[in-house]
């Protein structure tokens, strides 16, 4: 009986509303989405097929190993791991998939940073922006990542581009948050010093605040890259090629072995990217 109290209102059509909104956005912005899909899609294909896959695997592994060697402070551990790990992926016949995955992660991460850092700066400077954006970030991070796939398909169809779009939404928040945090953490006295000598806002930002916040921002970027990588499997559900697609198809066919191999490839890639970005951060300290 008491439950009837809860029925004072009919069901609110949130689902219908969202659908309506998505349709509307698709219609209205199709002039934007279609060229993005076309040109960005072409660009991604170019990066994957004509750049990354054009590099002979042997050279690619060597380059990564050299980078790993130098960023980790001329130690052999990470370099050795990179060589063995990447060779293993090659050995399992997943090289093309790896290159597709790298393309997806790389572009999603770069776009996340390009979008995320300025938003983080804005949040650190404006209380209002901080108040508005923080709940949006919470929403973006807690909403199950699968949900982003639906509008991504509506906007961009299937393939690599909607994959990047979904990754972008999922992976940008850490960069925004850490940028905001890093700038806010710059000590009061340093900000005062910058002001007291007559810095303009831009001078203060680029000469004092961003350099001081760099390691925090880098930690955020590291998180963003990891999240983008974790979207690889999910994005494959809407046709993004790469290691994730192998995992997904193994799941659909219940092939434990192939699934494990593709999953192992993702793990290896994750470790290499994580260690390299982290060491870059440490080195600068």
């Amino acid at each position: 009986m008491l439950n009837s109290l809860l029925d004072f209102a009919p069901r609110i059509p949130i689902a219908e509303g969202t659908e309506w909104l998505t349709d509307k956005i698709t219609d209205v912005f199709s002039f934007l989405f279609d060229p993005i899909n076309k040109y960005f899609g072409n660009f991604m294909d170019f990066v994957a097929d004509d750049v990354l896959m054009a590099i002979p695997p042997f050279i690619f592994i060597l380059i990564i190993a050299v980078i790993a060697f130098f960023v980790s402070g001329k130690k052999f551990g990470l370099a050795t791991f990179s060589i063995v790990g990447l060779w293993l992926i090659y050995n399992q016949g997943h090289w093309d998939n790896l290159m597709n995955t790298v393309t997806l992660v790389l572009l999603a991460s770069i776009l996340s940073v390009i979008i995320g850092v300025p938003i983080g700066i804005l949040m650190s400077k404006s209380k209002t922006a901080n108040g508005i954006i923080t709940p949006i970030l919470d929403f973006m991070q807690t909403m199950p990542a699968f949900v982003y796939l639906i509008p991504a398909v509506a906007f961009f169809g299937i393939g690599m581009v909607p994959g990047v779009f979904a990754s972008l939404i999922f992976a940008t928040p850490p960069t925004v948050r850490f940028t905001n945090l890093g700038i806010r953490q710059v000590s009061e006295e340093l900000v005062e010093a910058a002001d007291a000598f007559g810095s303009t806002g831009a001078q203060k930002l680029f000469k004092v605040e961003l350099p001081m916040a760099k390691s925090t921002i880098m930690a955020g970027i590291n998180q963003t890259v990891m999240l983008a990588l974790s979207m690889v499997v999910i994005a494959s559900m809407i046709g993004a090629p790469g290691l994730g697609r192998e995992v997904l198809s193994s799941l659909q066919r219940a092939q434990v072995g192939t699934g494990f191999v593709a999953g192992l490839g993702i793990v290896i890639l994750a470790i290499i990217i994580d260690r390299i970005t982290q060491s870059m951060n440490k080195k600068k300290d």
């Binding site: 007291a196 350099p211 001081m212």
Partner: protein, 399 residues
């Protein structure tokens, strides 16, 4: 003309300060206003002016509003009301670009915890103020190097702040402020984070630099000894208001109220008071006019065992004792020259009381205070003790 003039400068923290301002005008206390409105009075109608080349110390305990006051002067904190005039221009009414210009050219600040940029080398730190004015690299590096040489850090320019000790870091802070060649230095508790020996060293060095540079310095401190050492004048703050402004001697000897009196109670007066504060008018005889007979008579009249001898131009010649004078009279010596002794101690007018102790202890006759060979006063043991005891008869008029 004063270089800085601060007029009824007030800062009230918190939202909606209107009501608090009204209460403040009615003369309500800081506590009463906090209770009634929730607003904190940072600085309450501070007014003072600073002359070019002066070291003006603002002193107060923590929470007295001194750090707020110095930040109001360069508007790191926006004043609630009141004006700051620098070279006659009202800083409080300037727009941002004009304010930036003043900060770049006229005001530099030195911070308590140094405020150095850890990601920049010492040289890059020192040239920061010039760099943001887009001064060509070579020129600004030269100026920054000169400033670093001045504070004795010429060899460290490529180190990072983290590699330097506290005292050295604050030298960098000072060099960074000096590199701009500002008219006014704002020093916010600049030496408070240093340990006592280094602090004293830095104070000495600042005074040395000041004699050659003649900057106007506004120095914030909570340390009374530091204030007395450095300040040409001192403003004492309590609860956001300036309680007294005066020279160190005035603050010590003529405290404006009980608070100041209590504040200066424990001060080592011997380091602040100088010979001129405690000297007395000397009894003298003129070597050109008088003989032993007059000398003896004078000593008898004044109850002295010795008397100082001068010439007509008041140049100090020496002293004669009663014993020598009566001997001379018996032997019928007329000329004082033959019995003058010259082993009396001499000090300058600005010799600290502290340094007079040992001199006066070893001396059988009063200590003479001499200015360019002329006798201007004498100091007896009694007046030293009276001055240390806080006797307010110490005369400021001599100063």
């Amino acid at each position: 003309m004063p270089i800085i003039e601060v007029d009824k400068l007030t800062k009230i923290f918190g939202k909606n300060t209107k009501h608090a301002r009204k209460l403040l005008d009615e003369g309500k206390s800081k506590e009463a206003i906090l209770k009634e409105t929730g607003n904190t009075v940072g600085v309450n109608q501070a007014s003072f002016s600073v002359e070019p080349g002066e070291v003006f110390v603002i002193m107060g305990l923590s929470g007295s509003g001194k750090s707020t006051l110095v930040r109001l002067i360069n508007r790191l904190i926006e004043p609630t009301s009141g004006s700051i005039y620098i070279d006659g221009e009202d800083l409080s009414k300037m727009d941002k670009p004009a304010l930036r210009q003043v900060r770049r050219e006229k005001l530099s600040m030195v911070f308590q915890k140094f405020g150095l940029f850890p990601h920049r080398t010492i040289l890059q730190n020192a040239e920061y103020g010039l760099e943001i004015q887009n001064i060509p690299k070579e020129e600004r590096e030269n100026k920054a190097k000169q400033a670093l040489e001045l504070v004795g850090l010429g060899d460290y320019i490529h180190q990072y702040p983290g590699q330097l000790s506290g005292g050295m870091q604050q030298r960098v802070g000072l060099a960074r402020a000096l590199a701009n060649d500002p008219k006014v230095l704002l020093m916010d508790e600049a030496f408070s984070a240093l340990d006592p020996l280094i602090r004293k060293e830095m104070q000495d060095e600042l005074l040395d630099l000041q004699t050659s540079m003649q900057k106007t310095i506004i120095f914030i401190t909570h340390d009374l000894d530091e204030a007395l050492r450095l300040g040409d004048r001192i403003a004492l703050m309590k609860d956001g208001s300036i309680v007294q402004i005066g020279t160190p001697e005035e603050i010590l000897v003529q405290p404006a109220n009980d608070y100041v009196e209590k504040f200066v109670e424990d001060v080592d007066r011997s380091k602040v008071l100088t010979a001129q504060h405690i000297m007395k008018r000397p009894e003298t005889i003129n070597v050109e006019k008088h003989g032993p007979r007059v000398a003896l008579e004078r000593m008898r009249e004044e109850g002295l065992s010795s008397i100082f001898v001068i010439d007509s131009k008041k140049n100090l010649k020496g002293y004669i004792t009663a014993e020598d004078a009566s001997d001379a009279r018996k032997k019928d010596i007329k000329d004082l020259q033959q019995i003058i002794r010259t082993d009396m101690p001499k000090v300058e007018k600005d010799t600290a009381l502290h340094d007079i102790f040992t001199i006066i202890h070893d001396s059988p006759v009063p200590v003479t205070v001499v200015e360019e060979g002329k006798l201007v006063g004498i100091i007896v043991r009694g007046s030293v003790i009276a001055a240390l005891a806080g006797d307010s008869e110490v005369n400021l008029e001599n100063a």
